[in-house]
C-alpha cells in the first residue's frame, strides 16, 4: 500500500495547507493501493497512518525552507538537522519521523511534500494567496510521485 498523510490545522491560516491538499486529493481518482489520510494535528497518534504501507508521502506546511509558495519534496534526512518543529503542531514532523524509526522496521519510503507558507495565523480560516496558488502544483507533484 501507498499512503498520503496530510498534516495541518485549518483553523490557523496557512497551517491548513496539508488539510487543503487532503480535500483536493479526495476529489481525484487514485490507484487501488493508494490511501489518503487527514492527520490534522495528531502528534504521536499519527504513527498509525504509517502502518501497512511501503511508501508514505507526508504533506505539511514548511517554514524557513525557501520563498513563500515554493514547493519542496524532502527526504526525512533533510529534516534531520532541524530538530525543532516545522510548524505549530505539537512536537512536529521530525519528532514523528524519529518515533517511526523506533517502532517500524522496515520503514516505508518516506517523502515530505510541503510548501513554504507565509504565516501561521491563529483562528483564521483559509490560505494566503501565494500558498493557495501552490495547491494545484503540489497536487500534481503528489500525483506524479504515485503513478499507477
Amino acid at each position: 500500500m501507498r499512503h498520503i498523510v496530510c498534516f495541518g490545522n485549518e483553523l490557523h491560516g496557512d497551517d491548513g495547507f496539508g488539510v487543503r491538499i487532503y480535500a483536493q486529493l479526495r476529489q481525484l481518482t487514485w490507484p487501488k493501493n493508494v490511501e489518503i489520510f487527514n492527520a490534522g494535528i495528531a502528534g504521536l497518534n499519527a504513527l498509525r497512518f504509517f502502518e501497512n504501507c511501503s511508501q508514505a508521502i507526508l504533506v505539511d506546511a514548511l517554514a524557513n525552507f525557501g520563498n513563500t509558495g515554493e514547493i519542496f519534496a524532502l527526504k526525512p534526512e533533510d529534516l534531520a538537522d532541524r530538530p525543532q518543529q516545522l510548524t505549530g503542531h505539537g512536537l512536529g514532523i521530525p519528532y514523528l519521523l524519529e518515533a517511526l524509526k523506533v517502532i517500524r522496521e522496515p520503514l516505508p519510503d518516506i517523502l515530505i511534500v510541503g510548501v513554504e507558507i507565509a504565516a501561521v495565523t491563529p483562528f483564521f480560516s483559509g490560505l494566503s494567496d501565494k500558498t493557495e496558488q501552490a495547491v494545484p502544483k503540489a497536487v500534481r507533484l503528489i500525483q506524479d510521485l504515485l503513478p499507477e
Binding site: A42, G43, N45, Q85, L91, E98, V102, I103
Partner: protein
C-alpha cells in the same frame, strides 16, 4: 541583589501554559502560572441540547478525551437520575484506565526521565546509564515506552470505535457490549504491555511489586537484585534521589481526589454516593486527616484571571465564565482559581494514592512528604495498579457474557435540572457541572485537573499549587534552570517545555 524574570512556555496542543518566575540571587521569589490560550468550551455548549456535551467535551483534550466523556455522561445521568448496568461501568472503567496508563507511561518515559540526560549531569556517575535508558529515541526505556504506550488506547477503539475524541458512552450505558472478541483482543494488548512493564520497568512481576507496602520494604527491594535497581523505576528513583528531587517541589499540602472508577458492584447506587474502586476524599494538610469529599465545597475565584470580576469564590453551579482580557492589569491567566473549602489544593496520582490509603505511597509520604520524586513515583505506582485492575475488569466482563451494556432511559430527552460528573483523569480531579433550562444547556462549567494544579492566585492572594511548588527553590544556573524543569514535569504538564530568559533574549530548550 540581582533580580530577573524568566519565562517558561509549556506549549501543548490542548492549550498553552507559560510560567513566569521572579528570581533574586538565583532563588525563586514569585511565580505566575499563565494559561495563555482561551478555549471557550463552556460558551460553545450554551443553548445546545444537553447530549451534545458527549460529542463536544471529548474534544477538550487529545490526551484525556475518555475522562471528559465520562464526566459528561455522569453529569447527564446525575441530572436525570439515569441508571447504568454493571457491564457498562466496567467498559467505561477499562477504557478510562487504558487512557490513563498510556498517559502515565508517556509522561514518565518520554518526558520526565529524558531530563536526566541533560548535559548538566555529565559528571554524575549515573549519566551513562541515563543516556542508555532514557535518551529520546535511543534509550531502551524511551523506545519501549514509545512502542508499548500506543497500543493501549486500541482497547478504547475496540469499544468506542475511535480514540481520541470518542463518544461511545451514552446516558444509561455504552454503545457496544463486550463481545468475547473484544475481550480477547483487549487481553492480548494488555498482556504485551504488562510483560514489557514487568521486564523493563519494575524488573519483577506485577504481584511482587504491588506487595511492597512500606518505604523500608521498597528501599530494601531496590538494592536486593540488579534487575530491580536497573529497571526503569530503579534507575529513575536512583537518579531522582541522586539530584535531590525528594527534597523539592512540595507545593500545597492539601490534596483532593474525586475517587477513581465507579464500583460496578455498586451500580444500583447513583453517583455521587456510588462507591469507587479507589476512594474519594480530601486530605487536609493541616491535620493530616482524610475527610469525606463534598463537591459543594468547591469554588472558583477569578481575582487574577481574565474574566469579568466577581467577589470571592463561586460554586460551579453559580459559576460565570465571561472573558475579559486585561493584559496590562495584575490579572495574568485564562485559568480560574479553584479552591476546596477555600483551600489551595493539588490533585493527581499522589493525591489519589494518599487519599485511597495506598500503603507504599503513604509510607513514603510519611517519611519524606509530597516531593517531586514521590509525585512522579506515585504516577508509576498507579500504572502497576491499573494494569492489574484492567485484567480484573476484563475477567469480570468475560464472566458475565450476556449482561446488558445499556439500560435505555425512560425519557428520550434530558429534563431541566442540574447535575455534575466527577472523575479521575490521568492528571487528577476532573468535573463537569451542567444546568439545563427549557430543554437546552443554560450553564456548563468544567474544572480540569490542570485548573486545580496550575491555578493562579485567588481572591486572598494565595498562590496555586504549581506556583507554590517553585517559590523558594534555588537554581544553579538561571540561564539553564533544569531544576525547574524537573519540578514542573513532575506535575505532568507534558509535551514541549522551552525556557527562555527575557532579559537577554536568549532562548533555551530543556527538551526536546
Amino acid at each position: 541583589m540581582s533580580k530577573r524574570t524568566i519565562q517558561i512556555d509549556l506549549n501543548r496542543v490542548e492549550g498553552d501554559l507559560d510560567f513566569q518566575l521572579e528570581l533574586e540571587d538565583n532563588k525563586v521569589v514569585d511565580a505566575r502560572c499563565i494559561g495563555s490560550m482561551y478555549r471557550g468550551f463552556e460558551q460553545i455548549l450554551i443553548s445546545r441540547k444537553p447530549k451534545d456535551s458527549l460529542v463536544i467535551t471529548p474534544r477538550i483534550c487529545g490526551i484525556c478525551g475518555t475522562a471528559q466523556l465520562t464526566a459528561a455522561v455522569l453529569a447527564l445521568e446525575n441530572l436525570a437520575g439515569i441508571a447504568v448496568p454493571p457491564a457498562a461501568i466496567r467498559i467505561r472503567n477499562l477504557c478510562l484506565m487504558a487512557e490513563t496508563v498510556q498517559s502515565d507511561l508517556r509522561q514518565s518515559f518520554l518526558f520526565f526521565t529524558a531530563d536526566f540526560c541533560h548535559p548538566k549531569y555529565d559528571d554524575r556517575s549515573f549519566y551513562q546509564k541515563a543516556r542508555t535508558a532514557f535518551l529520546p529515541f535511543k534509550g531502551w526505556v524511551h523506545r519501549g515506552a514509545l512502542e508499548h504506550s500506543r497500543h493501549l488506547v486500541e482497547i478504547i477503539a475496540l469499544f468506542g470505535g475511535q480514540w481520541p475524541h470518542s463518544s461511545y458512552m451514552l446516558p444509561g450505558g455504552v454503545t457496544t457490549p463486550a463481545s468475547s472478541r473484544h475481550i480477547i483482543d483487549s487481553l492480548s494488548i494488555l498482556n504485551k504491555v504488562t510483560r514489557w512493564f514487568e521486564q523493563n520497568i519494575i524488573g519483577t512481576d506485577l504481584d511482587s511489586w504491588l506487595a511492597l507496602e512500606s518505604a523500608d520494604e521498597f528501599f530494601t527491594w531496590l538494592t536486593a537484585k540488579e534487575a530491580h535497581a536497573d529497571g526503569a523505576i530503579g534507575l529513575f528513583t536512583m537518579m531522582s534521589r541522586g539530584i535531590g528531587l525528594h527534597h523539592v517541589g512540595f507545593g500545597t499540602p492539601h490534596m483532593l481526589s474525586y475517587g477513581s472508577y465507579d464500583d460496578p458492584a455498586d451500580a444500583g447506587t447513583f453517583p455521587p454516593q456510588r462507591k469507587h474502586l479507589f476512594r474519594a476524599g480530601f486530605l487536609n494538610g493541616d491535620t493530616g486527616n482524610v475527610e469525606p469529599f463534598e463537591q459543594a465545597e468547591i469554588t472558583e475565584h477569578v481575582r487574577y484571571s481574565w474574566f469579568q470580576p466577581y467577589t470571592g469564590g463561586r460554586h460551579p453551579f453559580q459559576g460565570q465564565t465571561i472573558p475579559d482580557y486585561q493584559p496590562h492589569s495584575d490579572r495574568y491567566t485564562w485559568c480560574k482559581a479553584p479552591r476546596y473549602q477555600d483551600k489551595v489544593v493539588q490533585t493527581g496520582p499522589l493525591a489519589d494514592a494518599l487519599i485511597d490509603g495506598e500503603p507504599l505511597i503513604s509510607s513514603l509520604y510519611q517519611a519524606e512528604g509530597g516531593n517531586a520524586w514521590l509525585r512522579q513515583f506515585a504516577r508509576l505506582r498507579r500504572t502497576a495498579r491499573l494494569l492489574h485492575k484492567m485484567r480484573e475488569t476484563l475477567n469480570e466482563l468475560a464472566a458475565h457474557p450476556n449482561d446488558p451494556h445499556m439500560i435505555p432511559p425512560d425519557k428520550l430527552e434530558i429534563p431541566d435540572g442540574e447535575g455534575c460528573g466527577l472523575v479521575t483523569a490521568a492528571r487528577g480531579a476532573l468535573g463537569h457541572w451542567l444546568q439545563v433550562t427549557d430543554g437546552v444547556i443554560s450553564c456548563y462549567q468544567v474544572i480540569t485537573p490542570t485548573a486545580w494544579n496550575a491555578s493562579p492566585k485567588d481572591s486572598e492572594g494565595r498562590h496555586g499549587h504549581w506556583e507554590s511548588s517553585l517559590i523558594g527553590l534555588t537554581v544553579d544556573d538561571p540561564d539553564d534552570p533544569v531544576e525547574i524543569g524537573h519540578i514542573i514535569r513532575s506535575h505532568d504538564p507534558c509535551l514541549v517545555c522551552t525556557v527562555h530568559v527575557l532579559d537577554t533574549g536568549k532562548r533555551m530548550t530543556l527538551w526536546p
